[in-house]
Amino acid sequence: MKLIVTVVGRDRIGIIASVTKILADNNVNILSINQNILNGFFNMILFAEASENSIKLVDLQKKLREQGEAIGVEIKTQHQDIFDAMHKV
């Protein structure tokens, strides 16, 4: 399954490291990362691919959400299908 991870929050050192570590630990492959800082705010959209056998999406969402809370950013993980459904005919 393809995933979109969106991270928004106040910038600090190590946001990407902590997010990508969780992805690596759970066998999730990163396809592309788009990241910038706007007025001190960190924005990242990460495209990834995971095997449904290795982790359930709801469990991965929980791990990332908890990590986000720990470092003060909002991490949202969604199945890519919702974006495909809305924007591809």
Binding site: I4, T6, N34, I45, L57, V58, Q61, K76, T77, Q78, H79, Q80, D81, I82, F83, D84, A85, M86, H87, K88
Partner: protein
């Protein structure tokens, strides 16, 4: 390839503009539950509902989490109870409503619809018992919704039932007077009721539907309003095109959720209902879309045209986004559930007469309108008759969900709570309809040619 802009747009719709899937509704046929003994019958329906919908709420929550789109309600609709209960030897169907309520609570859904009768041409004995049971059934239960279809384009209007429903509404209000007559918020009186509607309080599982089915209702007035905010002064062609594109995107989410729910539950996908359903929250209002088009307040002259454009464009955009469209499909105008409508009633720009005109061009009818406690049953029946006539002659669904709040007077504000919202008591015409309603009988089906 999905672009960053696409992702941001979708997530903005969800977080800022309150895009949600309003309901996943599982339709369940109870035709195989009939039994002459009331206790056995109630056990049969309880067992079938709890077995069929065991994983409905859990599945809905999983889909909500995985796609990141809120799914507000999980609901059940069942075969009209008047049909399946008919062979029961009983003079009240209140125990059946209680069994439905218990089953709904067991599986954790928000509402269960189908305490219903279809009587546009006349009553059977089961219809009669069901309609008599409605006030007590709605007073004794929390989650059961009831509906009566009393008119259709092919059959005309059952005026005996129109008269009776005025009295049923008054009795329902009386029995739930300590809860702002909340029973009436769970009772819809239809003309041309659809068989596959996922929205409450009017949902039931039609007799021509499969054993089980998944129907999904979308929402998203806030998304449409946001799209129009960038179009100040643009002409109506541009407005209609923008609404179509927005409705397409909203409906695609509904279609995705419907397909996923159907696959995971192993239940066939029925339809997506293209409705724009408001909530009392700021930013989730149909009235504010109409005002965004250039009206000072909803109800001003031009409101009916604005609503007609909105309703039509939503259907055109949504139709291509879903493989099967059905239900009520259009814009809803429930007064107490729409922050902009509430404000318009308070400001004096929106009246019951204007609302009636609006129902000629939109999805349902006179919906969630509080009227004074001293409005007579025959006046309520008159309102029902007018609304049924609009539906029958124009070959569309119309409905009435009025709440005659005991002791409330025009100008009082009545609180229903949650998604049902709050509403100022709306004035109605005070001249009598009594002799008209007392006639009874049927208004014949209308001619379908010579359409002038």
């Amino acid at each position: 390839m999905i672009t960053i802009e696409d992702i941001l747009e979708t997530n903005r719709m969800i977080t800022v503009n309150k895009l949600d899937v309003r309901t996943i509704t599982m339709g369940i046929s109870l035709r195989d539950c009939a039994h002459p003994n009331m206790r056995d019958f109630c056990r049969n329906i309880y067992d079938k509902i709890t077995r069929s919908a065991e994983f409905l709420v859990k599945t809905g929550e999983e889909i909500e989490s995985e796609y990141g789109v809120p799914i507000i309600n999980k609901r059940i609709s069942v075969t009209p109870i008047a049909i399946v209960a008919e062979s029961c030897k009983a003079d009240s169907y209140v125990p059946i409503a209680e069994a439905l309520d218990k089953a709904a609570k067991q599986v954790g859904v928000n509402f269960i619809g189908g305490f219903s009768a279809l009587v546009e041409k006349g009553y059977t004995n089961g219809d009669r018992i069901l309609i008599e049971s409605i006030p007590q059934a709605l007073a004794n239960t929390d989650l059961v919704c009831s509906s009566v279809n009393l008119a259709s384009t092919k059959a005309g209007i059952n005026m005996d039932c129109v008269r009776e429903m005025g009295e049923v509404l008054k009795r329902t209000a009386e029995l739930t007077r300590d809860r702002q007559a909340i029973g009436c918020a769970k009772l819809v009186i239809f003309a041309n009721a659809p068989q596959d509607n996922p929205f409450m309080a009017g949902a039931f599982h039609g007799v021509s539907e499969p054993d089980k089915v998944i129907n999904v209702g979308v929402s998203g007035p806030g998304v449409v309003k946001h799209a129009l905010e960038d179009l100040k002064g643009a002409d109506f062609t541009t407005l209609a095109e923008t609404i179509k594109k927005t409705a397409f995107k909203i409906t695609r989410v509904g279609q995705l959720v419907a397909q996923e729910a159907s696959r995971r539950l192993g239940v066939p996908f029925g339809i997506v209902d293209l409705s724009l359903a408001p909530t009392p929250a700021v930013g989730d209002s149909i009235a504010r879309i109409l005002e965004e088009m250039g009206l000072e307040s909803c109800g001003a002259h031009g409101t009916t045209a604005a609503l007609a454009l909105l309703n039509d464009a939503v259907k055109k955009g949504g139709l291509m986004a879903s493989s099967h469209v059905g239900g009520l499909s259009g814009a809803f105008i429930p007064v107490s559930e729409d922050e902009g409508m509430i404000a318009a009633v308070k400001a004096g720009s929106l009246t019951i007469e204007k609302l009636e005109a609006m129902t000629c061009v939109c999805s349902v009818g006179l919906d969630m309108i509080a009227v004074a406690g001293d409005v007579s049953a025959s006046t309520i029946s008159g309102i029902i008759a007018d609304e049924a006539a609009i539906g029958v002659v124009n070959n569309k669904t119309t409905a009435v969900r009025l709440i005659p709040v005991p002791n409330a007077k025009v100008g009082d504000v009545v609180e229903f709570g949650g998604l049902l919202g709050y509403c100022p008591v709306v004035p109605v015409n005070h001249f009598s309809s009594e002799a008209f309603i007392a006639r009874g009988g049927r208004i014949p089906a209308p001619v379908r040619s010579l359409t002038n």
